[in-house]
Symmetry: C2
Subunit: 822 residues, 2 copies
């Protein structure tokens, strides 16, 4: 276990009057720059009278949350300098972008990253103009913002990101601003419980600051309206020691507010230092640390603090009316223009910037230097600190396959043995996240190497269940938390896997949208270094929900993902254990992707030896000659294609029926692992050239495609290659219940017998010639269903079927388990 | 406002010894039937020795949560009888299906709904055999289960559903069991705050019962491991008065447990009666009621209570090992079979059922009768109590359109005036739900009629913001809560609309999956009556995220929905205010659908008069002759198709450019409102016949289609109609940032100039003949972008454009606002 180095604990002192003045000056500067970004496109230092045409024609941005964010940033800076903290700043209300852009500009980071935006009047003008401007920068704390790992546009993930960032970062602290609007979302509401998982010895510190400015877009917030007593109980119930700060109301002197808040923050940081010191002592003594009641801050200040008190007679400061742009008419109305002028001048820019437009040194030096600047913390550019995983050789975990289908294995269980060794070799920068499904998805081999990290109460008998204070597996029954933690972990330069039931990964549809967008934008930013990919392992999939039925059946996450940019998304459907191993090795080496891997956990045939699997996965798809009945030099009459483990079993069963019953029919079997290969190479980097597509699927012959998910996706992917009607896709068409796997296939017309019927219907002349066989297939599926249920038969043995026709192994039966699989 | 009738408040008395015995007998019967369902397919009363072959070959189901559910059900029944309560039972851990099936069977409801499953030994045998059996019933509290409005397969929505069910049901109570696993999910974690919205005068009561059985699938739960003190603080922080019950541990005498729990439940119900009485008095006096600290119960009992203490030497009762099927080897192992036998006999079935296999009358009568049975409460079959809305004439809200495009309106703002009148005419069974976006989406006219319901603190100035103790608009910054509330409201027979930003509706992707599945299954159940449709109004859409940028741009919810069954899903993209009115009138009349309506909130042209709009919406798509340059009797040379308000503007702009620059080109303009019309009529009930498709889009001519969302969806929908490459779709291809609407279109090649370029590239011979025009278009878009930004021009005026070529109105310019629009 990593244990914390000495937590910086320089004795803090209350700020002197001069320090308060300079702190306040820095805050004024940050607010001035924020307002400037929202409104101005010229005259950035107001050295000339403010004119209408200096105001942007479209006023876009969010003022309301901004002054609170800059206030907290200024105070965090003071604490960093005094205590030497290694700190991140995570902005829940990410729409307060101008504030964070301003902060990074004042710290010099912005000009380092974007030299065109220099520390002078011209740079200031660029800073202002580019904001929310075509060709400029977004209005949020976006990937473009130095120091950000959290866009915040979709609210609710600040705490999950912060905890994810702090796992295995024992020397760091994340100042995490939680918006009170955001706090109403489900993901945020449960993420408070992250503190039951963080370990004070091995992980860093999250200091949540609930930014209680009272209003959302158009309404008050719940947490601002339940009274301090109830709020205090709630936060204690979340496991925190809340410290309350209320400031900025009733024309409070800002210096007084600064002084009072500095004391609150010092109190929180002193508590943290004490907890960390205790953890160090515990670690030194080989003791576990108890879960502490970590401090947190309730920061109640007016929305739009220091902005216009009223606009057009309506209360604005301290109201939802401050949410976006309070003076919407600044370009069109003299009154608004004058008010904007007064507002800007209220920050006294002439006292903040020198002749050239550079922040006065006396103010600038209140911020920390170099990598201690939150805007320049290397962890916030995760790729810059990313170390590649030391990956053990996955070939050593191969299932021995005497002939195709000649070994039975549970694919994810085999993968688990490799992941166990990945954990062994990477004890500090790799974690597995799952919603209570790691064992259900058959990855339990990892517990030979590690434990599930849990810092709520542990009972003695939990120890044998691999519950421990520290471990590489994070399990909480919230897909949102798993996703948020993993994102935070990846964004700060580490690696991980999210293992989930296939159907419920839709719960994070919207979160992964945002992560994919983050990756897309960072691909366009040279200074952002590539991150480890976000790897999904989706098991307990649609075809094998024997216990749970219809509610657990949805393979549509793939459809959701393929709407994101092609450069970001990869989808793999390995048909067996060996291909899963090869696929996952590839995923853990990759960067800047979202890898969606769907794999079964039930015993199933292993089709390919490891060498064959590697070749197959490298190609992404290929012809399985041994499964078909092609004749050299002649085009096949039909292609049976498949993608996904269960459809592959059915396809091979159909191929065997055809081989037996219509031996002269030239059948080709194609298996697809990398779904993106079906696209055209102009659409996706993994896409096939038209020539290669024809080489695999022929030019005009019918293709019967058994697909894991919703069938129409195959058409959408192969669209440019083939717009004829020759590809006939079977898959899940939203028919299901609690039933056997074979019945599931039958309900969706994807069973082996139906695939044979499809071939008969599609290959010219067969339907009439083999009318009897067609009827027989129809009967057979009903018999098979009943028989399979009664005898508890699983798919590889339905109707006495087994694949025993591997190369040179015609006489062998499907053996028991091969290789290291149990 | 509806105010509560007299809350039933018959004096409760502690149960007598005999009552406790009978209560216990009912519980034993429910548990016996639950175990029987999981294991047996014969010998249901154990009148013969238990044999292996009487055990099902596949043991599927969840035992762990079941005994707790049946215990609570039995006690709820006692309370209902004593107090005359009108109660629902909502089962968060819905996988405990056997328990609820057992309860409804014991109450007789099951046999009433499914006469084949009678109240005798044969019926019992059917009850057991059908469970989790092919052709039988699901393992969860599914739509098939009488009394259920909540499947619970995807965890997290029990409280939201319960509150939704209780809005406007002042005389009802929902006993709502919250699983402690479920409690870790985000949606559940925030749904505790629902009590800040419920009104004690007008709404019913939710009694949350936190089922703290300590374990999930393979792990302890967070709330079971934070200690009672922290848990108590948390629940008080949620605004509740928690009552703690711990029972069933250390071999507690079950009668003692019953006696103690009865007292706890009575305490909770006494508190509720008092709150309701106070609310009645307040209502009578015309006073508002304060938000009370509603009681709730913490129910800490062993997981798998009354099941095997150990299995194969492992602790089972009180452990996660009870989660599914504790004796997995009952068919294969003598030991497990004997243990199953002993387990079943521990409930002493011979004391519970008479000679025929019928529950003894003395036990049966402990349950309530007729509609007071929770399994037969009419509200749980919402369609049976559904009253159609009284819909005001939407035509009266029409925007007057002197000629196509001859009036400007904000579509959703106009809709708001009609919704205002819908609320006026339906004061008790219609609500609007939104995540703080009702005004942002421009529906504020509704506040002329109603308020936002809010039962947290109200400050005096909130009153002018339409915050009130009761109102028809529910706003909380959680899409999960909005969706859950609306679902609960619909499932109990009412109507509603969910208004949301388009991008963030993905947050409920997984929830709407479950609702669509519920609708699909209930379509197959004769006894379940049709519900009002779930209506989305998605605004602030992808093309108009001027303030927020990339994070707020995602039109993929449509793609997500079309994977659900065609009978369930409808998608509408009305191009203007009048078509939106007509569409929404249709949606509010419809049943059993999920209606997705995407509409803009920005000022835009109104193309059709109301009469034309009605015809157009009834057809779902059609040719806009006035926009094209067709020549009677000749086929057009190109079709410009469009779906969505912004693409419609661009398409008409492109049509105008073409008309001006290539007057001889025969252009047809087709607008699509009902997206499902693009499918084949064999795939979707709204689908077009092939003949009609050709009639609109021609046979072989190029089609340039400007679509609101991800372009490939159009191919997927029109796939069966047209597999050629002649349809060329433009749409959002995941390029965006904070920028102007025109720049957004440009980034995605969907702007008017690019559409013209597409026409030039697609219609034979034009590219060479009009090479100059092509280049000009390329230049024009860059010029237009800069000019539009600088002059704050919106789409209808880009590059000086306006649609002024309406029939007979060539000389008119686009006027100011028409009709009743402001």
């Amino acid at each position: 276990m990593t244990t914390t180095a000495t937590w910086p604990n320089s004795p803090a002192h209350a700020p002197t009057e001069e320090e308060l003045d300079r702190l306040h000056a820095w805050w004024r500067a940050a607010n001035y720059l924020s307002v400037g970004q929202i409104y101005l496109m010229d005259n950035p230092l107001l050295r000339k009278p403010l004119q209408r045409e200096q105001v942007k024609p479209r006023l876009l941005g969010h003022w309301g949350t901004t002054p609170g964010l800059t206030f907290l940033y200024a105070h965090a800076n003071r604490a960093i300098r005094q205590r030497g903290l290694n700190a991140l700043y995570i902005t829940g209300p990410g729409h307060g972008g101008p504030g964070l852009v301003a902060a990074s500009y004042l710290e010099g980071t912005y000009s380092e990253v974007y030299p065109a935006v220099g520390q002078d009047e011209e740079g200031l003008n660029r800073l202002f103009t580019q904001f929310s401007f075509p060709g400029g920068i977004p209005s949020h704390v976006a990937p473009e913002t130095p120091g950000s790992i959290h866009e915040g546009g979709e609210l609710g993930y600040s705490l999950s990101h912060a905890y994810g960032a702090m796992f295995d970062s024992p020397d760091q602290i994340a100042f995490t601003v939680v918006g009170d609007g955001e706090a109403e979302t489900g993901p945020l509401a449960t993420s408070w419980h992250s503190n039951k998982f963080a370990n004070p010895q091995q992980d860093g510190v999250v200091l949540p600051i609930l930014h209680l400015n009272g209003y959302k877009i158009a309404n008050p917030t719940v947490l601002a309206r339940i009274g301090d007593e109830e709020l205090d109980a709630l936060l204690r119930g979340y496991g925190h020691t809340p410290l309350f700060f209320t400031g900025g109301f009733d024309d409070e002197d800002p210096i007084a507010a600064h002084e009072r808040f500095a004391a609150v923050l010092d109190e929180a940081l002193d508590q943290i230092a004490q907890i960390k010191q205790q953890a160090q002592e515990d670690a030194a003594a080989g003791r576990e640390s108890e879960r502490p009641a970590w401090p947190m801050i309730v920061f109640r200040t007016p929305k739009g603090w220091t902005g216009p008190k009223t606009v057009d007679g309506n209360v604005t400061e301290g109201s939802w009316r401050s949410h976006q742009v309070p003076l919407g008419g600044a370009r069109d109305s003299d009154e608004h223009l004058a008010e904007l002028d007064a507002w800007l001048r209220s920050y006294r820019p002439e006292e903040l910037f020198d002749e050239d437009g550079r922040l006065l040194e006396s103010i600038a030096e209140t911020a920390p230097q170099a990598e201690l600047r939150m805007s320049a913390n290397p962890s916030t550019n995760g790729g810059s600190v990313l170390e590649p995983l030391r990956l053990p050789d996955f070939r050593e975990h191969a299932v021995a396959v005497p002939h195709p289908g000649g070994a039975t294995a549970e694919a994810t269980r085999v993968l688990g043995t490799w992941l166990r060794d990945v954990i062994r070799d990477n004890p500090h920068n790799f974690r597995i996240f799952g919603p209570d499904e790691t064992a259900s998805n058959r990855l339990q081999a990892v517990y030979e190497q590690t434990d599930k990290q849990w810092n709520a109460e542990i009972e003695p008998h939990d120890r044998q269940e691999h519950l421990a204070r520290a471990g590489r597996v994070m399990e909480v029954l919230s897909e949102h938390q798993c996703q948020g933690w993993l994102e935070g972990y990846l964004l700060t330069g580490r690696h991980g896997v999210f293992s989930s039931y296939e159907a419920f990964i839709h719960i994070v549809d919207s979160m992964v949208n945002q992560h994919a967008k983050w990756l897309k934008v960072t691909n366009e930013l040279e200074w952002r270094r590539p991150l480890a990919s976000l790897n999904y392992l989706l098991s307990s999939h649609v075809w094998r929900q024997d216990h749970n039925g219809f509610s657990h059946q949805d393979p549509g996450f793939i459809d959701h993902m393929v709407n994101k940019k092609a450069e970001i998304v990869r989808v793999y459907l390995p048909p067996d254990a060996n291909t899963l191993l090869s696929t996952y090795d590839h995923c853990l080496r990759s960067r800047q992707y979202v890898n969606v891997v769907v794999a079964g956990k039930q015993p199933g045939p292993t089709w390919l030896s490891m060498d064959e699997a590697i070749v197959h996965c490298t190609r992404g798809l290929g012809i399985w000659e041994w499964a078909g009945t092609e004749v050299d030099g002649e085009e096949p009459e039909v292609v049976l294609a498949c993608a996904g483990d269960v459809p592959t079993v059915e396809t091979l069963a159909a191929a065997k029926i055809l081989r037996t019953r219509i031996p002269a029919l030239r059948v080709r079997v194609v298996n697809v692992v990398d779904l993106m290969r079906l696209q055209d190479d102009s659409e996706h980097p993994h896409g096939l050239a038209q020539r290669d597509f024809v080489g695999l699927f022929g030019q005009d012959i019918p293709v019967v495609f058994a697909y894991h998910g919703y069938p129409w996706l195959i058409h959408r992917l192969a669209y440019r290659h083939d717009r004829s009607s020759r590809i006939h896709v079977r898959g899940y068409k939203e028919e299901g219940t609690t039933t056997t796997p074979f019945d599931m296939l039958m309900r969706n017309d994807t069973d082996r017998f139906h695939l044979v019927m499809d071939v008969l219907d599609r290959v010219e002349g067969l339907a009439t010639r083999y009318a009897g066989l067609r009827q027989q297939m129809e009967d057979e599926r009903f018999r098979a269903r009943a028989f399979a249920y009664e005898h508890g038969e699983d798919l590889p043995e339905i109707a006495g079927w087994q694949w025993d026709e591997g190369a040179g192994a015609q006489d062998e039966t499907v053996g028991a388990t091969g290789g290291d699989n149990e």
